[in-house]
């Protein structure tokens, strides 16, 4: 009964979304206040309905209702409760429902914003309603999570053991919050295109929404990377896998978008850029969904490969992106304008930033789709891997990072080059020295490490100098500190985060070490001054798996620093083996042990990793997200009076 209720709520959702997508839009064209007034309540009702539907599916998982096909294929009565709940988004149908929940959640949140003029508000909500209508039609027609299985299965097939992990609890919701959050920036742009109004208020109002979406996406990607690091058991943190790229491309477009929005807000320029980037960020999110769900690309993440779904998502993609680009082409003439600026100015810096980030996103897109293009053109099956991405990504990102430090020192409209050079030359010189010395100090100097460390030093020194400049001068320190707006702190923290991230990446790339060794019980192996002693291997019983658990004593300079317990698990329901690595984490290094195959009764293969500074990668991401939060909370967005309704 309860699954039917969820199904029914889903059907109502589609109907309400259709109403929301059409009537307020008509109302806005005809200036009919009654029709426009529908938008807010409809948006909230939409969210409530999806929430009911989501609750019903969760109930089916919690209650082990194996008469629901989706539950029967992705849960098991022995699965711990927390994983039964997260199994809701453990596969295609449920994760799409989560996507829908996020989309309608964002829509409902926008409906509470009282600062938007009614016409604009009606258009924004209607655009979100149209997207939701297309999306829920897809869900109902091709991927209904409430489909019944008659007769009911006696037992479920269990959740993929890879997904039975705390990382899975938070990774998809955060990622989807980010993905789907760009729908708001998209809707703002489309509403502005429909109305033909592009004022500073439009940019200012969409900025906090975009920032929040961006910060969720940043967290989601970082968490996914951390999860891959310890759960996949091979110690990598980024694989340039199509599904990772699918989340990284909207991040790149979104990063460009938040920068472009600042120019549009402050100087009224870059309107075309802002509109196109908003469309791009959301389109790339949709494209990501298409790539993951349609099965056109194979990936370690490949969940569902079903051509019917692919065709539907492609149609949705054409409708949403094609429609908005047509609208853009029609309205583009209205998008010109904005103040003049010199060749060296904050505007030109941000323009270069937009161009570079857009090019990076395009090269990632090309690399991701290349196997598909080659296959379509009968050039054979091939795969594009990390060598391509590293070869193109690094040279493009180096100028981004270089200019990222310079830009905040440059004034709007124009700046004198000699003054700028004089200001930044000491930091530049010091960075080069630090890069060279740092690379030499690692013991295995390479120009890549030197470059990485010099860039990181450049970012950190530049940030310090920027803060120093803000804190010195007239007035007390406290007064000067208080005068710094949240958006400035956001920029500063996020840029600092990039520096921290680069330190992590450069050092882990050059100094990491790993070794596979066969170790007899009671004997030990060495790696980078750490001694790993395999004390014993015991059998262990988990709630839904059996495991061989190694007891590995890690010592350094004769002192035991930790006892690690890597496991080899067999999940009973699927008889699927899993390697559970065990990590001694630290600020400056991780040591990582995973248990391999037994060689004989008393000898096991151990895989040992030494990962210096690997935590800095995620610390950098956290700083970036924190920066996003500071910027989104900038007092300016809250104090703002209602913008003028268009005449």
């Amino acid at each position: 009964m309860i699954p039917e209720l969820g199904h029914f709520a889903l059907i109502l959702t589609l109907l309400v979304a259709t109403v929301l997508g059409i009537l307020p839009l008509l109302g806005a064209q005809r200036n009919d206040a009654a029709l426009m007034a529908l938008a807010r309540p409809a948006a909230r009702l939409l969210f409530m309905l999806v929430l009911v539907s989501f609750g019903c599916l969760t109930w089916a998982f919690v209650a082990n209702d194996f008469s629901v096909t989706y539950v029967a294929s992705h849960s098991h009565s022995q699965l711990p409760l927390v994983y039964r709940i997260t199994a809701v988004w453990g596969s295609h149908e449920g994760s799409l429902l989560l996507w829908g929940l996020m989309l309608t959640g964002w829509t409902a949140a926008v409906s509470f914003s009282r600062r938007l003029p009614d016409v604009f508000n009606a258009r924004v909500l209607a655009v979100l309603g149209l997207v939701a209508a297309g999306f829920f039609a897809f869900l109902l027609l091709t991927s209904n999570p409430f489909e019944r299985l008659l007769p009911a299965a006696l037992e479920g097939e269990d959740l993929n053991p890879l997904l039975q992990d705390p990382g899975m609890v938070a990774h998809p919701p955060l990622l989807y919050m980010g993905y789907v959050g760009f729908s708001v920036a998209f809707a703002f742009s489309i509403a502005a295109l429909i109305g033909g109004q592009f004022d500073a208020a439009w940019a200012r109002l969409s900025r906090p929404w975009t920032l929040v979406a961006w910060l969720f996406l940043t967290l989601g990607i970082a968490l996914g990377s951390g999860w891959a690091y310890y759960e996949l058991g091979w110690g990598g943190w980024w694989f340039w896998d199509p599904v990772e790229n699918a989340s990284f491309m909207p991040w790149l477009a979104g990063t460009a978008l938040i920068h472009s929005l600042s120019v549009t807000e402050k100087r009224g320029a870059f309107k075309s850029w802002t509109v196109l980037l908003a469309i791009a960020a959301f389109s790339l999110s949709l494209l990501g969904t298409f790539l993951v769900r349609s099965g056109v690309l194979t990936s370690v993440h490949a969940f569902a490969a079903d051509p019917k779904r692919g065709i539907f998502i492609l149609a949705l993609l054409i409708f949403v992106v094609g429609g908005s680009l047509c609208l853009y082409a029609w309205r583009a003439a209205k998008l010109s304008g904005g103040g003049k600026f010199a060749n060296l100015s904050r505007e030109s810096m941000l323009l270069i930033n937009n161009v570079l980030l857009a090019v990076v996103a395009a090269t990632v897109l090309l690399g991701t789709l290349y196997p598909l293009l080659a296959d379509a053109l009968h050039m054979g099956k091939l795969s594009v891997g990390p060598p391509y991405f590293e070869a193109v990504f690094v040279p493009l990102m180096v100028p981004v990072v270089l200019l990222m430090v310079v830009a905040p020192f440059v004034r709007w409209r124009g700046h004198e080059l000699p003054a700028l050079v004089k200001k930044l030359l000491p930091a530049l010189g010091a960075s080069l020295l630090i890069g060279g010395a740092g690379a030499w100090a690692t013991g295995t100097p390479s120009w890549r490490t030197a470059l990485g460390l010099a860039l990181a030093a450049w970012v950190l020194l530049g940030s310090a100098q920027l803060l120093w400049g803000r804190l010195t001068g007239q007035g007390t320190l406290m007064a000067r500190l208080g005068a710094i707006p949240g958006s400035w702190w956001g920029m500063w923290l996020a840029h600092l985060g990039i520096g921290v991230f680069i330190i992590g990446v450069s050092l882990v790339k050059t100094m990491e070490a790993n070794v596979d060794v066969a170790v007899k019980l009671g004997e030990s192996a060495e790696l980078r001054g750490y001694t790993f002693t395999l004390d014993k291997v015991v059998e262990a019983q988990g709630p839904n798996y059996t495991a061989m658990r190694g007891v590995v004593r890690v010592s350094h300079d004769g002192q035991t620093i930790n006892v690690l317990h890597p496991e080899k698990r067999i999940y009973t329901a699927r008889q699927m083996p899993m390697t559970e690595a065990s990590i001694d984490a630290g600020i400056f290094r991780d040591v990582y042990v995973s248990l391999g195959e037994p060689v004989d009764a008393s000898t096991w293969v151990l895989r040992l990793y030494y990962k210096p500074m690997v935590r800095w990668i995620w610390a950098g991401c956290l700083l970036m997200a924190l920066g996003g939060l500071c910027a989104a909370l900038d007092a300016r967005y809250r104090k703002l009076a209602k913008i003028k309704a268009p005449a």
Binding site: E157, L276, I279, S283, F290, S294, G295, V296, L297, T298, A305, P307, G310, I311, L314, L317, I318, V321, G322, L325, C326, Y328, A329, W330, A332, A333, L369, P371, L372, L373, D375, A376, K381, Q575
Partner: protein, 176 residues
């Protein structure tokens, strides 16, 4: 309307054409490097009371199917009725490679669902599976009289696959 404003739209149209073509292709259809190469040798115990060994050389001169199966494999259960029906037609010997399975479970499974195999051989640790490049169960290899692999089916044999892919090839090989 400025022509420049149409550029994003044109790029997008180009992209969708490729995505649409991509939908008609199957990324999983990976050409096996073993096609037209000699089948890797094996010498495995048969899944029956006698426990006699079967070697690759024993199949010399015959066109035959090597079907990788396991009692724990859900997709095999879909495939199984197709194989049982096919085996009744007696077109060619079907050898089962019982992959990473327990004998008792495997025999029980054949008892329950029927036995389409001329015989099954036991690959309990999956070594022969590695030699054949098996990465999913079920998989099926068509091997000719000279012991060369001529076709490989990844995933279950459906009635369509049987009619369109396997039977024409079998006829051709048996005629030769």
């Amino acid at each position: 309307m400025k022509a420049k404003a149409l550029i994003p739209l044109l790029i997008f149209i180009g992209l969708t054409v490729f995505l649409a073509i991509g939908l008609t292709l199957n990324p999983r259809e990976i050409p096996s490097p073993l096609i037209d190469k000699p089948a890797p040798a094996f010498n495995l115990r048969q899944l029956n009371a006698s426990g006699q060994a079967l070697k690759l050389a024993d199949m010399q001169g015959k066109v035959w199917l090597l079907n990788v199966w396991a009692s724990w494999c859900v997709a095999c259960r879909d495939e199984h009725p197709v194989l049982v029906e096919f085996s009744k037609r007696g077109v060619l010997p079907i050898i089962g490679l019982n992959y990473k399975d327990r004998d008792a479970d495997a025999l029980d499974w054949l008892q329950k669902f029927g036995n389409p195999y001329t015989t099954s051989i036991v690959d309990a640790d999956g070594r022969v599976g590695i030699d054949y490049g098996v990465y999913g169960v079920p998989e099926t290899f068509l091997i000719d009289g000279k012991g060369r692999i001529r076709y490989k089916q990844i995933g279950p044999i459906t009635p369509e696959v049987l009619e369109r892919e396997l039977l024409p090839r079998i006829k051709e090989l048996q005629g030769a």
